[in-house]
Amino acid sequence: MKKSIMHKPAQKTIISDDISCMNTFTNDDQPLTIVAVLDKGWKGTKTFSLNLKNKNKNVNFFIIIIAKNSEEFSFNTEVIHEAPNTKSHYYIRSILLDNSKVTYKGLLSIKKTAKSSESYLSHHSLLLSQNAKVETIPSLEIEANDASAGHSASMGKIDDEMMFYLLSRGIDEKTSKDILIKAFLEKDFDKIEDENAKKILDEKIEKILKKTLK
């Protein structure tokens, strides 16, 4: 029997601690994964626009925000699907401490020409301080009916039940909290294929959290 070999293009994964890495985009049909771990805010609003003009292009963005003090993280992303069978996924997770603020506006637009395209966006925030503020506007503009698109967003505090579970197993409050915060931030990483990248990310986040959550 003839063995069919599925050719799978190599998944390129970029890890950065600067949001401008979102500009690292090439106009080919290579699948691309970009992960940004951000723990320093900036002034003003940054905008990242992306046009998917090449067939079968598949992009994944993971943005992890650890906001503290009075830092502000204000950014917009926009993806326009023009070519058929293109895919884009934005996974954004933020935790907010002190007086920090996260403002995010994400637009997914699927044009009529982008048949069978897929676009998804999620922004989940964990508020850890009474004075933190978060604003989210995930928008959709869908003109092709043969497409699938969606977004989800949530804002909330650490789940009481989860805390109770950990505490009831003899883990102290601080450790329980830290475990849940880290798990929250890394929840979408199961969608990253590159195991090595995942390991690097895990260490990176661990280090930042250690410094931040005293």
Binding site: L127, V134, E141, I142, N145, S152, A153
Partner: protein, 472 residues
Amino acid sequence: MTIPKRTKKTLEKISNQYKFGFKTDTNPIYKSPQGLNNKIVEEISRQKAEPEWMLNLRKKALEIFFKKPLPSWGGDLTKINFDLLHYYIKPQDKIETQWKNVPKEIKKTFDKLGVPQAERKFLAGTGAQFESEMIYHSLQKELTKKGVIFESTDIALKKYPKLFKEYFGKVVPVTDNKFAALNYAVWSGGSFIYVPKNTHVNLPLQAYFRINAERMGQFERTLIIADEGSSVHYIEGCTAPIYSTDSLHSAVVEIIVKKGARVQYTTIQNWSNNVYNLVTKRAFVYENAEMLWLDCNIGSRLTMKYPAIFLLGENAKGEIQSLAFAKENQHQDTGAKIFHSSPNTSSKIVAKSISKSSGRNSYRGLLKISKGAKNTVSHVSCNALLIDENSRSDTYPTMKVEEESATVAHEATVSKISEEQMFYLMSRGLSEEEAVSTIVNGFATPIIKQLPMEYALELNRLIELEMTTHVA
């Protein structure tokens, strides 16, 4: 998925008439000339023999209307020619409380729409507005005895001046937006409802709005006050004849839900395709009170309507459920706004939209949780269904959270009718059109099932009709 050719042919055979598109020849007592100016506003006020303060308010509002620019977002409003509209048409000189006294032509119109029949069956009270004025109003005797007020807003201004002045314009200020200001300037008709403390109106109250004349502007004004511990359900329905010229409907609805009260406001909007529907709806909800907007938009050329709820007291609850249907040349720009400003408040938004044959649906929402509104919970979900390849769906939800203890979740999906679903249904013997219709109905059911039964049946039928017509 596209509707197959064979189905299209069958569908074309079915009549493609908008059921409510007929018009009636009437002789109105007064019809204001086209256009809008101070003189017309003064004339409206004079005809209604209003107190001085109302006239002054109208004049002030007109200035604000002229000053404010058209909104730059939402649908295309540039085609509305404000100079060609008639802003006030008075069909008769008094409000009837006996259906048999309503003039014949008008009666015939409402008979055709099935309004008095509905009343006999399951309503506690009915109002009917024809052009600018309420022409008929009635309320069950027991409710009148209990002190429930259900009147035309014009009558309420005369009969209950103190109560009226206390609440009028407190929820939607005159400066709120351009179309609210327009409504303030030329408002006429609408319902005024007052439910006294601990009184429950068990059957719904209904008002029916009909635009009959060409180039008509209808500006009804509704004010509902549910006093402590009371409850009421209000239903409005709207239709109009089909003209090649545009008409405008711009209402303001203000609702005050006091401590422990509950109000449900149900809209079944089925304007003809030449009506611009630009409506401001808002409710103030106090301690332990509950508000539900149930908003179904099937008709109109462009609807811009975002029912709002302000949760102002502890444990207040707000819910907005909407269903929008956009077909050829239609844009439904609808949404929901909820402001949490007290602790332990909760809210839920469910918005569903169906777009077909180049119809466009937009969801525009705002959810704000202010600092201090501790332990609030809110859930927003938007689902869009695209029937064919020319339709379009947009979602613009905004969420602002300033409170750590809040729990907010939002989800949105856009989907089409999947071939799998079609295959499943058709393999069980359903025809293609039945299968499409079943899927659409299943999608809309969570909203429709909350309507009173008679309306649910009517809406189901309407959607089926919309699904089978206009397939060109």
